[in-house]
Amino acid sequence: MNLTLAQLILQDRQIAYALTDRTLRIVEAGGAMDLFGKNGVSCLGRALVDLFPELVGSEDLLAEILAGKRPRLQLDWINREADGQTLYLTMVDLPLRSPGGSVTGLIHILQDTTGMGNLGQELAQRRNELRLLHDQLARRNSELAAANTELRRLDDLKSAFISSATHELRTPLSTIIGYLEMLLEENFGPLHGEQHEILAIIQGSARRLLTIVNTLLDITRIEAGRIELTLRPTDLKALVERLVAEFRPQLEARAQHLALEAPPELPPALCDETRAMQIVSNLLSNASKYTPDGGKITIALSPAAEEGFLQLAVADTGMGISPDDQPHLFDRFFRTRTAVQSNVEGLGLGLYITRSLVELHRGRIWFESKPGRGSIFYVTFPVAGPAEDTLAPPGGAGPGFGFRATR
């Protein structure tokens, strides 16, 4: 081959070579000589190992090549710094043979593989960074898991404390309320006007206190998953009528008009009567609280759009719920800005408990509201099947439960 042509090819392919004698001194060099670095121009006569520190420690292997015992020595991905850039090289040493076949020295070849090297570096960089990130995340997750376990433990302690405290509070409170009723009924003698008035105030406060205690007890039970439902086929319309009767004096005191709409024939709902009463009571109480005097409240019962369910809707002509508040309405302890500003009493737990109870019944709760025009709260209850005259908690039947799911 034409030597100039060979030089051109070596230059283009970024390959440099050096030929040595048997003492490993360079006797000839060519190709892309810039790969030899700044020593390239004066490499002739120098020891190969001096010029290429990568060969330090490999003297035995080079001797084996010279002795014809080893065909080659190759080192890949050698990094070199050149003008602030990393150069990647492959270094190969082969035996240099005379026409007679004897080894007269080495052919030392350097090839620039920077293109591949840069790609490899970028891949390794990204992969290693990802692995570091993954390790950090794994560590963080494990720390968070430990923190969560501790938080759960503290939360359980708190729930146990609240549960125990509310339980302890409820017993004497019930006694107080009981004796107050007897006093107000004048079982222990007649009361004059002011005494009656004061005792009635005490009775109102004691009942509010009992409601708060019951609410807290419900929260701890819900969060501990300890609410048990006694599911029975229930006439929802009758249940609502009873509740309406209870609410009547309160509604009349505020001149609020209440209407109940229900078709003549409705199948029974499968629910826990006490808890269903609590659900409807919460919704009705809210509707009354947030509706101005003289406003209108409508309770409508109907088959739900979802097959196998009954729907109960409580509509009011109250202040409505602002769009900002709507996403948080079922959150624990959430109170709307208007409720706070209007001094409406409450802990912000009613709707949270209501939703939990509805979901325990496998029903749904949602609402529509227009600020200034009112709100409608919807709740669904499953329809009781013909054989469902026994009890069961949702999510699995306990001992003695004969519940058959209708969904």
């Binding site: 520190p53 990568e54 330090v56 420690g57 490999s58 003297e59 035995d60 292997l61 190759q74 080192l75 890949d76 991905w77 050698i78 990094n79 070199r80 990647y88 090297g117 490899g120 570096q121 390794a124 960089q125 992969r127 290693n128 960074e129 692995r131 570091l132 390790d135």
Partner: protein, 179 residues
């Protein structure tokens, strides 16, 4: 009388433990916080004067900074051949990097049986992130029959001492004593 000798020293350990930074600190007295993964091998050299009973030896340390990623495992034997010594590097903030040192040492000693070892527990400056105790490092070093140093390529802590200790081992005819 001054004798000059060259010895190949490999830096071994998992990726991102600070091998390149240790070499950079030792050779150029520089440090860069940015992590840049090494692929293949980067060879640097530094000459150090090591006193010996018969005079001073000028030791030309040829430092082979090897990629820590496992895709270079197949090439590692060719890099390890002819090594006179090695610095086994772990990261004090990543316990798993200490566990893998045993396998690096085994690989090295299989290819270069007489190689001298030293353990560098790096990133000693990251005190609030240590997840390895000096006792764990000491136990690992004992298992590898070597000494250990708590180093920081960032501050330079113990870096020079570590390499000089290894240098001393490389020029001494018999194994040195541990710290």
């Amino acid at each position: 009388m001054t004798t000059t000798i060259s010895k190949k020293v490999c830096l071994l350990g998992d990726f991102a433990v600070g091998k390149t930074s240790l070499v950079r600190r030792f050779v150029y007295n520089l440090f860069n916080d940015k992590y840049l993964s090494t692929i293949g091998v980067k060879v640097s050299r530094k000459a150090v004067a090591i006193p010996r009973q018969d005079g001073v030896v000028e030791l030309n340390m040829i430092l082979w900074d090897l990629a820590g990623s496992e895709e270079f495992e197949q090439l590692r034997d060719s890099y390890l051949r002819g090594a006179a010594g090695a610095v086994l590097v772990c990261d004090l903030t990543r316990p798993e990097t200490l566990e893998s040192l045993h396998s690096y040492a085994e690989d090295l000693l299989r290819v270069s049986p007489g190689a001298r070892l030293v353990l560098a527990a790096n990133k000693h400056d990251l005190t609030d992130q240590w997840r390895l105790t000096p006792q764990q490092i000491e136990a690992a070093a004992a298992g590898l029959h070597t000494s250990y140093y708590l180093t920081s390529a960032k501050t330079g802590e113990e870096v020079e001492t570590l390499f000089r200790w290894l240098g001393q081992m490389l020029v001494e005819p018999t194994p040195g004593t541990s710290r």
